[in-house]
């Protein structure tokens, strides 16, 4: 397919990679949140309900991360190489955490022994919390900027990645996913477990709002470059406003028992957050800190225009199909989760 010259393919792929990671946050976000809340339930049937609420979908949700990573590799190979080799140990930990999360779901209910189930319960919860935290830390480091050398290689250390701002974003990510997961559990369950999950919504929301407020202040004070575009274009504050309204709407919907709308609000808040992140970042993908001239951008770290065009063709063919069957699958598995003999 040939695309017109005025189409800025680098911008398009900056947005598309952002869309893929946003899709991941929206979808696997609630899976990870359910995992983080898993140990707060006490009985075996409740834990099985928690697992099975995400049972049919977690796997497809994780594909958003896989495809996001693939798209990053293809569209911005320099960024992929620098970030993944620079975050070496952090990423290995993320992989191990994701492996434990995945196999814990699969293995837990295959044996009746209490020790067996407890072991995988802990694996599921720890894997989910650690994955959320590390994803947040990675985002925090991107927002903060990374030390890069003259060849665009990471010039810092593993411990250097764990600075307070990055840790703060890591905790915020855990809080956000816990809130998102709590609302999801309310939506997908009934009876005792739903009543318990309703109790989780408020504290996780307060936890998230506190983290979010502190992160926002820290960003304005210490990473002001993330807000530069907003200062130049005040109308962009409507996105920040939409974000706040979406979050404020959650308790209202929960109060009225409109759980699905609460879940949508939480999703909208996440989309707005990712938009603010992307707007703050563009055109950078990895801002260089302290030496901004070495930053990796959507223009100096990208693949050739031909590859970006080929991939856009692939995306135009593939994405509508992906969306169509993702929606149908969520539709097939709509409603409250019930345990049957195929359940985990």
């Amino acid at each position: 397919m040939n695309f017109p010259d005025w189409l800025d393919l680098n911008l398009v792929w900056f947005v598309l990679v952002g869309v893929l990671f946003t899709g991941y946050a929206l979808l696997d976000g609630f899976d990870l949140g359910v995992g983080a809340l898993h140990l707060f339930t006490r009985t075996d049937p409740h834990r099985r309900l928690m697992l099975n609420s995400i049972g049919p979908v977690w796997d497809g949700n994780e594909v958003w991360l896989v495809t996001g990573g693939g798209a990053l590799f293809a569209a911005f190979p320099v960024v992929y190489a620098t970030v993944f080799s620079g975050f070496y140990l952090a990423l290995i930990l993320l992989l191990v955490a994701l492996i434990f999360r995945a196999v814990a779901i699969e293995f837990r209910s295959k044996q009746p022994m209490a020790w067996w189930r407890r072991m995988w319960d802990v694996g599921f919860a720890a894997g989910s919390v650690l994955s959320s935290f590390l994803l947040g830390v990675a985002m925090g480091n991107i927002a903060w900027g990374m030390p890069l050398d003259e060849r665009g290689e990471f010039a810092g250390t593993f411990l250097g990645l764990l600075h307070p701002y990055a840790l703060l974003v890591g905790v915020t990510a855990v809080a956000l996913f816990m809130m998102h997961g709590a609302i999801y559990v309310v939506m997908k369950t009934e009876g005792d477990l739903q009543a318990q999950a309703r109790q989780w919504v408020r504290p996780t929301m307060i936890f998230f709002i506190l983290c979010y407020a502190v992160t926002t202040m820290a960003t304005l004070l210490y990473a002001p470059h993330m807000a530069a575009r907003m200062r130049a274009n005040p109308w962009l504050f409507t996105i920040a406003l939409a974000n706040v309204l979406a979050i404020a709407n959650i308790p209202r919907e929960i109060h009225h028992g409109r759980d699905f709308r609460a879940f949508l609000s939480s999703g909208c808040a996440m989309i707005a957050l990712m938009m603010l992140f992307g707007l703050g970042l563009f055109p950078n993908l990895v801002p260089s800190n302290p030496d901004p001239i070495r930053s990796l951008t959507a223009y100096n770290a990208s693949s050739s225009p031909k590859t970006l065009g080929i991939m856009l063709t692939i995306a135009i063919i593939g994405v509508p199909a992906v969306l169509a069957y993702t929606v149908s699958i969520y539709w097939i598995f709509r409603g409250k989760v019930k345990l049957d003999r195929m359940s985990y």
Binding site: P56, P77, F87, I99, K306, M342
Partner: protein
């Protein structure tokens, strides 16, 4: 680790030719100085993680075909035994699929973590294949897997069968794109080399030439047949076990027929695709074929049944097939095959190890075909349940495709060394510049422990499923499947 160290020494002499890429001397661990450097550790880690991952996708692809056949038979005949079979094999499928997904994501990330320079070099070409894999294959597979596993009582028979077909198709698509990407590393095509501020990189010039590079289709067919064999022989193995124990006999006999049918087709096709691949390697990667057969002096290529290469004296001791046979099989290409001496020592792979892996693959492949043919003959004569010796061989035959798939990939990848992209980029030049040996050692230990645990749990759970056997209640479908009615989708 001899070749690892050797390539590194070689690389140091050429450092100025590759974008000023600097590997620090402290990247070697003190106590193993010179042995376990970053290159060896990273290769070992990639071999471990890729090899472990590759135990599972072939099973998913092969069982996927089995499930389509079984569920198709159920739709066509309505016999309850096929429903029971579909349910049982779906559970086995789910187990292999889960570990395949969990270990697959590691590989995608590892290109960036351990092979960053390689990633920058190939991203423009390799990345689009990987992205296509995500969009076309993984979403399809994982999405419809939900219906396959959890949708039995929620959708109609037709819809469920459709989902099964889509999962199977998705599994095959994922093989397509990853084999295309790997084949591009073996026989690069449709690209040009561009100099950038950060070093040289391959840039795509012709997408379809990249996709249909000289080795991709023959290698893809070879890989897919190997995956069908993996699934087919798992079904055969479990069925043979039940027949030996005289348990679940109706289930075992019906499963055995499906397994044997698939095994015969896949094993015969495998010989054809294997032969095509071998001819392709002679044409496209002569040094690799020379290593496969321990062929040092240019001239007529021998075909060994087995042997041992003495790399010091450059001789092979072993049993070769008669000249007349090899001449007929290889034709003109084999008569003037280049020998290893045509290539400087630093451009050769490790010969004996590559030779052994290659011949192990071929030998096991032949044995699998023999088992499939013998089993089908006895099954046709109605004598299989009495042939306990063959049933015992069949129980262990499940290991055959796994061994052949692993050694086949080892031969293909080791035969490509010292190149990561054949003729363009050396493996030692593809490493991450910033990752040190201690970090790779840490991750290697971590992956080894985690994978040992996973493997133990997988074998345990698979064993439990097999001992438990098919569920008698599965002889009656429930929910919407019972009526065969339409789902309210």
């Amino acid at each position: 680790m001899r070749d690892g160290y050797g390539s590194m020494v070689h690389w140091k002499s050429k450092r100025n030719t590759f974008g000023g890429f600097v590997l620090r001397d402290e990247t070697k661990i003190g106590m193993h100085a010179g042995v376990m450097d970053v290159l060896s550790l990273s290769r070992l880690q990639f071999a471990l993680t890729a090899g472990f991952h590759y135990l599972y996708p072939p099973l998913s692809i092969g069982l996927g075909v089995g499930l389509v056949v079984i569920e198709g038979l159920w739709l066509k005949t309505g016999r309850p035994i096929y429903h029971q079979m579909a349910r049982f094999w779906t559970k086995v499928f789910a187990l292999t699929f889960a570990i395949g997904v969990a270990t697959g994501i590691v590989l995608e990330f590892e290109f960036g973590t351990n092979w960053a320079t390689y990633s920058r070099y190939v991203g423009d070409v390799f990345g689009s294949a990987l992205a296509a894999e995500g969009i076309f294959a993984f979403f399809l597979e994982s999405g419809f897997l939900a219906v396959l596993l959890f949708g039995w009582d929620k959708v109609s028979r037709g819809m469920h069968f459709f989902a099964t077909c889509m999962v199977c198709l998705g599994a095959h698509f994922s093989a397509v794109w990853i084999v295309v990407a790997n084949s591009w590393q073996q026989t690069p095509a449709g690209y040009m080399i561009e100099q950038t501020a950060l070093g040289p990189r391959a840039v795509i010039t012709d997408f379809w030439a990249m996709v249909f590079n000289p080795s991709s289709m023959e290698r893809l067919s070879h890989v897919v047949c190997g995956a069908w064999q993996a699934g087919a022989f798992l079904i055969i193995s479990v069925s043979a076990f039940y027949l030996l124990r005289r348990k679940h006999e109706e289930f075992a006999k019906a499963s055995m027929k499906v397994g044997l049918g698939a095994a015969v087709v896949a094993s015969i096709l495998q010989i054809v695709t294997g032969h095509q691949s071998a001819l392709g390697v002679i044409r496209n990667q002569p040094v690799k074929m020379a290593a496969f057969e321990g062929h040092y002096e240019t001239g007529e290529l021998p075909i060994y049944a087995f042997g041992w290469v003495d790399e010091a004296s450059e001789t092979v001791r072993g049993l070769a097939v008669p000249r007349a046979v090899s001449r007929t099989m290889l034709g003109k290409a084999g008569s003037t095959a280049k020998g290893l001496r045509e290539f400087p020592p630093e451009d050769r792979p490790r010969v004996n190890l590559t030779f052994q892996f290659y011949h192990l693959m071929v030998g096991v492949g032949m044995a699998l075909m023999a088992v499939a043919l013998a089993g089908s003959f006895l099954c046709w004569r109605g004598a299989l349940s009495r042939s306990r010796w063959l049933l015992w061989i069949m129980v262990f035959s499940v290991l055959g495709p796994q061994i052949a798939n692993q050694t086949g990939w080892f031969a293909a990848e080791m035969g490509r060394q010292p190149w990561v992209v054949y003729g363009l980029l050396r493996t030692s030049d593809g490493l991450s510049a910033v990752v040190k040996a201690d970090a790779v050692l840490t991750s290697l230990i971590l992956f080894t422990l985690v994978y040992l645990l996973l493997f133990a749990v997988f074998v345990h759970l698979l064993n439990e499923k097999i001992r438990h056997g098919p569920d008698p209640s599965d002889m009656k479908p429930g929910g919407k499947l019972a009526s065969g009615g339409r789902a309210d989708l």
